[in-house]
């Protein structure tokens, strides 16, 4: 009798029945078992959302671990990061994984977003999924910006000064916004406190809520099918079941990514090339910035575009025009599902594709120029 009870299968079944009696999950399981994923040339793109999610989970876990030792403040931020990477067992590894995974998360999110854009998967009925996704990317970038300051080294100090200075250049609300962000007139220990709160409390909270919506929408509506299928042009439609086929593939990809992450973190704990985060010198508000000062790669296009703006354009500060045009571009980008409605009825959504390519080419060109030009 006892031996029978300990059989894992029996225990599992008993547990399932126990929960089902109380929460009626059988209908949910039934619903999930019918979940399918469209099988076509572009199926590979379905994995990038999951990849982004995977890196986010890694960020949460390693972030919590870093919290055990990190102490915010102008007198302790730099010192505690130094302590983590030089004294704490595997501290260097945790920081390296957190930094690599942050970069890979943004990269995966960009790929995910552009693949959704060019397959037009944002179209009716998935407008809300798109909007929540763009907002999630925005939060992701804010995570990057706020986390960058926390080690309080030379680079992070000036990057934050410039970044918050950009907010300060905005008309009317600029000064207010900049003071609130910096916690004073200049970037100081007060700024670390604010960025720390943002990075470990406010942003994770907002992100969790938005992410729940994003995932709920996807579960409710299922994967988007290619535009050609809708227009009835292609041959027979193929699907594979989500459980277990797609899930197994996804888990395999996550495993591969975890391995890549581990190799990168061990071989290049300080990053390499344009993704580089050596701790370096402690921030010194009196010192001029180091000769090559660059933002992280995902801000490079905006940074470079602003560099190209003249000081004044028709008596308005060039900076403002640059920020204005890019903000407007971002807003249009978020509203694409609503703007593209008419365009989608034709054979090919030429206008929207053109807009997408202009954005892609702009980002890539500006990024490359940013790294080549001194």
């Amino acid at each position: 009798m006892i031996e029978q009870k300990l059989e894992p299968k029996r225990v599992g079944k008993g547990l399932y029945t126990w929960v089902d009696e109380r929460l009626k999950i059988a209908t949910l399981v039934e619903y999930m078992s019918h979940k399918v994923v469209p099988k076509h040339r572009g199926s590979i793109w379905y994995y990038f959302g999951g990849a982004t999610l995977f890196f986010f989970v890694v960020q949460v876990v390693t972030g919590i671990l870093l919290l055990l030792y990190y102490r915010p403040g102008a007198d302790s931020g730099y010192e505690s990061v130094k302590f983590i990477i030089s004294e704490v067992s595997f501290g260097w590894l945790i920081r390296a994984i957190h930094s690599w995974s942050a970069n890979l998360m943004i990269l995966a999110a960009f790929i995910h977003m552009f693949s959704v854009f060019f397959t037009h998967a944002y179209r009716n009925p998935r407008e809300m999924t798109w909007v929540s996704g763009v907002l999630l990317l925005g939060l992701g970038l804010m995570f990057g910006f706020s986390g960058y300051l926390l080690p309080w080294n030379e680079l992070s100090f000036f990057a934050t000064r410039v970044g918050t200075g950009m907010a300060g250049a905005l008309p009317f609300v600029g000064k207010f916004l900049m003071t609130v962000m910096r916690g004073g007139d200049d970037v100081t220990g007060a700024t670390i406190g604010r960025f720390f709160g943002l990075h470990v409390a406010i942003l994770p909270g907002l992100f969790a809520v938005l992410l729940s919506f994003h995932l709920f929408f996807i579960q409710r509506q299922g994967m988007s099918e290619p535009l050609e299928w809708e227009k009835g042009a292609a041959g027979p439609r193929k699907y594979y079941p989500f459980f277990p086929n797609f899930l197994m593939r996804e888990l395999l990809i996550w495993l591969i990514m975890l391995n890549i992450l581990a190799v990168l973190a061990v071989v290049f704990p300080d990053g390499i090339g344009v993704v580089h985060w050596p701790l370096g010198q402690k921030a010194d508000p009196f010192a001029p910035p180091p000769p090559v000062i660059r933002p992280e790669w995902y801000f490079m296009f905006a940074f470079q575009a602003l560099k190209f703006m003249p000081a004044h354009l028709l008596s308005v500060e060039g900076e403002l025009i640059g920020i204005g045009v890019m903000s407007l571009g971002g807003l249009l980008w978020m509203l694409v599902p609503f703007l593209a409605r008419k365009n989608m009825e034709g054979q090919k959504p030429i206008l929207i594709n053109a807009f997408g390519w202009v954005v892609v080419i702009f980002i890539i060109t500006m990024t490359i120029i940013g790294y080549i030009l001194k």
Binding site: G165, G168, D186, F286, P289, A311
Partner: protein, 152 residues
Amino acid sequence: MDNANQDRRGFLNWLIGGGVIAFLGSVLYPVVKYMVPPASGEANVSQVKLPFKLKDLQEDEKHFRIFKFGRTLGIVILTPDNQIRALSAVCTHLDCTVQYRKDLGLIWCACHNGKYDLEGRNISGPPPRPLKQYAVHINKTTGEIIVAEGQG
């Protein structure tokens, strides 16, 4: 009767709506005010004595030093014609700290490649305004440098 009811409903809607707005306002006002930090206790000054002497600047191979001028930063430069000049060190573009480039004979901002001449005039790159110039007084006997508000 109907009209009277309408009026009453309208009045109540106004009352409730107004109450909600007033309530939100009274909650948000302190929150927003709380987020704005109090003004720094440090006063803005009109004149400072630099924590280094003329000799230190002449011996410094970079020929410039950054100093604290009240709540902001200043830069003091030894020009090629052996003059001492002091200006605001805060780039008028996005608040980076500028530096003197001996090789270029210019004041340069590393963040966005902004350039100023030694009078502080913005001559190239994104800076929209010139750097503020300060007056410099040097005590010939002690070598102390005193920087003050006002044109040099």
